[in-house]
C-alpha cells in the first residue's frame, strides 16, 4: 500500500525533494557570504544594537542582504499553505475526482489504512522540508542579528510564524484542511479555494487574537511611569493605566476624566502627577507580553491549531468511510 501511495504522489515528493536540496544549498551558500560581507564592512558590533546606531553605515549591507533574507522568511511563511494546497487537497480529492477511490475501496486494504498510508506518505516528507527550512532559515537570519528581519522581535507576525512550533502546526493545519475540503468538495479547484480561504481566515483570526491568548505580566510603577517600555519593540504592551491605592484598576473613563482635569490645572508634570495621585491614581501599571513569553504563546496558539487539525482529520475519516 505504501508503494501505491508513493507512486501516486511521485510528482509532489520529487518537488519537495528538489525544494529541500535547492533551499538548503542556497542557505548554506548565502550565510557564509553574508558573514563575510558583515566582516568586511566591520559590522559585527551592530548585531545587537537594536534600532540604535552602531557608528557604522548599515545601509550598504542591508541593501545587499535584506531582500534575500526577507524572501527566505516569506517563503517559509507561505510554505505551509502551499503544502496544504498542493499536497493536502489533491491527496484524496484527485482519487475521488477520477473515481479511483472505488478501485482502492474494493481491494483488501481497509479505508482507514488507505487514508492513513496516503496521509503518512504525503505529510511526513512535507514536515521534513518545513523543519529543515525552519532550522536553516532561522540559523541564517539569526546570524544577521539586528541587521536582519529578526530585529523586530519574536512577536512580529512575520517572525512569530517562522519560529518555535509555528511552521509545523501551520503545516499540519493547512494539510488537514486541504485533505478535508478536498474530500468534501470532491474537486481539486473547489477544495483549493476553500483551503486558501479557510487557512487565511484562521491565521488572521489568531493573528488578531494572539495577545489575548495568555495572561500578560503586569509591571507596576509609581507616578510618573518609569517602566520605560514604550520604545522597546521586542515585547508587546497589551494594556496600561492607573491603579488606585488598593491596587484595583481605575476604569479608563475615570482616569481620562481625571487626566483632563489635571491637565487643565497643571503647568507641567511636577504638578500633573501629584494632581493625579490626589484623584486616586496611586500607581501606574503596564501589562506586557515579554520576550521570554513567546514560547508559551507559541504553545497555546499551537494547541488551538492542533485541535482544529485533529477535528479535520477525524471529519475526513468519517467522510472517507461514508464515501461510495
Amino acid at each position: 500500500m505504501i508503494w501505491v501511495a508513493l507512486r501516486r504522489q511521485r510528482l509532489q515528493l520529487i518537488t519537495l525533494l528538489v525544494l529541500l536540496v535547492v533551499g538548503s544549498a542556497a542557505v548554506l551558500i548565502m550565510r557564509p557570504m553574508m558573514l563575510a560581507d558583515l566582516h568586511s564592512m566591520g559590522l559585527e558590533g551592530c548585531l545587537t544594537t537594536g534600532l540604535e546606531g552602531c557608528g557604522k553605515p548599515k545601509a550598504p549591507f542591508q541593501l545587499a542582504w535584506y531582500t534575500p533574507m526577507r524572501a527566505a522568511q516569506l517563503g517559509l511563511l507561505v510554505l505551509p499553505l502551499l503544502i496544504g494546497l498542493f499536497i493536502g487537497v489533491p491527496l484524496l480529492a484527485r482519487e475521488i475526482e477520477q473515481g479511483t477511490h472505488v478501485l482502492a475501496f474494493t481491494q483488501s486494504v481497509s479505508r482507514t489504512r488507505w487514508m492513513l498510508t496516503n496521509i503518512a506518505v504525503g505529510l511526513l516528507p512535507a514536515l521534513v522540508l518545513v523543519l529543515a527550512g525552519q532550522s536553516l532559515i532561522n540559523w541564517w537570519l539569526s546570524a544577521a542579528g539586528d541587521l536582519g528581519p529578526l530585529r523586530v522581535g519574536p512577536f512580529d507576525m512575520n517572525v512569530f510564524g517562522i519560529q518555535h512550533i509555528a511552521p509545523v502546526v501551520y503545516t499540519l493545519f493547512a494539510f488537514s484542511l486541504g485533505l478535508f475540503t478536498g474530500v468534501l468538495a470532491r474537486r481539486l479547484l473547489t477544495g483549493m479555494l476553500i483551503t486558501l480561504v479557510g487557512f487565511v481566515v484562521l491565521r488572521v483570526a489568531l493573528e488578531t487574537l494572539r495577545f489575548k491568548l495568555i495572561s500578560p505580566e503586569r509591571k507596576i510603577t509609581g507616578l510618573p511611569d518609569t517602566a520605560g517600555v514604550y520604545g522597546e519593540v521586542k515585547q508587546i504592551r497589551v494594556d496600561s493605566g492607573y491603579l488606585d491605592a488598593q491596587g484595583h484598576v481605575v476604569p479608563d473613563e475615570v482616569a481620562s476624566a481625571a487626566s483632563t482635569q489635571c491637565k487643565a490645572t497643571s503647568v507641567d508634570n511636577t504638578q500633573f502627577f501629584p494632581c493625579m495621585e490626589q484623584k486616586g491614581m496611586a500607581k501606574h501599571f503596564t501589562d506586557m507580553i515579554t520576550e521570554p513569553m513567546a514560547g508559551q504563546l507559541h504553545l497555546v496558539e499551537g494547541a488551538i491549531f492542533l485541535g482544529v487539525t485533529a477535528l479535520l482529520f477525524a471529519a475526513t475519516l468519517i467522510l472517507v468511510r461514508r464515501r461510495t
Partner: protein, 283 residues
C-alpha cells in the same frame, strides 16, 4: 443464508429517494447471473452494495453465508462501470498496485489473462490504452483477487464486438476453470443470452424476476391474438396493441385460449416486455 450471493430485505435510500427497496434473493453458486433492468432501476446500487462499497440503509447481504459489512468481502471482486484505474500508471505498475492492495493475489492469473488478450503492452500507460484494453485490464485485476463471486457492472459497454466477444470468453473461462459465480449487469441482451444461465430482473429497486433462465422463459408466453378479444387468464406483464392485433407477454398462463397463438419468449423479448411494462408504470 446459503447461495453465493444472497440478500434479505435489502434497501438503499439516497437523498432523492429509494434506489433499491425490499430486495430478497439467493443466487446459486457457479452461475452466470444476468442483472437486467431499465436505466435507474438500481442495478449499480445493488452491485455497489454487494461489493461493500455502498452501505445498505436496511436489510442484509451475504456472500457464501458471511455478511458483507462496509468493505469488500474477501471472496468478492468488483468491476465498476467507470473502470477505475490509475491512468498515469503503466500496466505493470497498475498490476503492482493491485497486488500491493490485496492480501490474496495471483500475479499468474493476471498475466495469464493478459497473455490471452493480445495487445495489452505492460509498459503502456493505462490512460493510453483503448477502452477495450482498459476494460480487460480491469477484469484481469478483478480476477487477480481469485474471487468466488465476480461482480461486473456493465462490463460490455464501450466495447467493440470483438472486444465484447473476448471479454465474454474470459468470463466463461473463469467460470469453467474456477467455478466462480458471476453477476453481470448489461443492456446487451443478445450477448447475455450466450453466457448467462440465471436472470435477475429488477425495476424501481424491486426484484421482478429471479430464476434460472430456462425456467423463467418456460413460465412465460407471448400471446398474439385479435385486438378486440378478451384478455386470457394469467398475469399480464406487458402488452403492445395495434388496431387489429394484440401482443401480450403473460406469466403463468395455464392454457392458450382459442384464437390466440402462443410461443415461448426468448430472453430478449422477455426482458423487453418487462422493460416496456416498467416504462409504462413510469409514464
Amino acid at each position: 443464508m446459503d447461495g453465493a450471493l444472497s440478500c434479505s430485505g435489502l434497501g438503499k435510500k439516497f437523498r432523492r429517494g429509494w434506489a433499491v427497496r425490499d430486495c430478497s434473493f439467493e443466487l446459486p453458486e457457479g452461475k452466470v447471473v444476468a442483472l437486467v433492468g431499465p436505466n435507474g432501476a438500481g442495478k449499480s446500487t445493488l452491485l455497489g452494495m454487494a461489493a461493500g462499497l455502498i452501505r445498505p440503509t436496511e436489510g442484509e447481504l451475504w456472500v457464501h453465508g458471511t455478511p458483507v459489512r462496509n468493505r469488500t468481502h474477501p471472496d468478492v471482486a468488483f468491476l465498476a462501470q467507470s473502470r477505475p484505474l490509475y491512468r498515469d500508471f503503466t500496466v505493470r505498475e497498475q498490476i503492482k498496485a493491485a497486488r500491493a492492495m490485496n492480501d490474496r493475489w495471483s500475479d499468474e492469473r493476471v498475466t495469464e489473462i493478459l497473455d490471452l488478450l493480445a495487445g495489452v503492452d505492460p509498459k503502456a500507460k493505462v490512460g493510453e490504452l483503448s477502452a477495450g484494453a482498459r476494460s480487460q485490464l480491469a477484469i484481469a485485476l478483478a480476477l487477480g483477487r481469485l474471487p468466488k463471486v465476480l461482480l461486473l457492472d456493465e462490463p460490455l459497454s464501450d466495447l467493440d464486438p470483438l472486444a465484447r466477444d473476448e471479454t465474454l470468453r474470459l468470463v466463461m473461462t473463469e467460470v469453467a476453470d474456477r467455478g466462480t459465480t458471476v453477476v453481470m449487469s448489461s443492456h446487451l441482451l443478445g450477448d447475455l443470452r450466450e453466457v448467462c444461465d440465471h436472470l435477475l430482473l429488477i425495476d424501481k429497486g424491486h426484484v421482478q424476476v429471479d430464476g434460472d433462465i430456462e425456467d423463467v422463459l418456460a413460465e412465460h408466453r407471448i400471446l398474439v391474438g385479435p385486438a378486440d378479444s378478451p384478455e386470457p387468464e394469467g398475469t399480464l406483464v406487458s402488452a403492445t396493441r395495434t388496431e387489429r392485433q394484440a401482443t401480450l407477454l403473460m406469466r403463468d398462463t395455464v392454457s392458450v385460449p382459442d384464437g390466440w397463438a402462443g410461443t415461448e419468449p426468448d430472453l430478449e423479448s422477455l426482458v423487453m416486455g418487462y422493460l416496456r411494462a416498467a416504462r409504462g408504470r413510469r409514464d
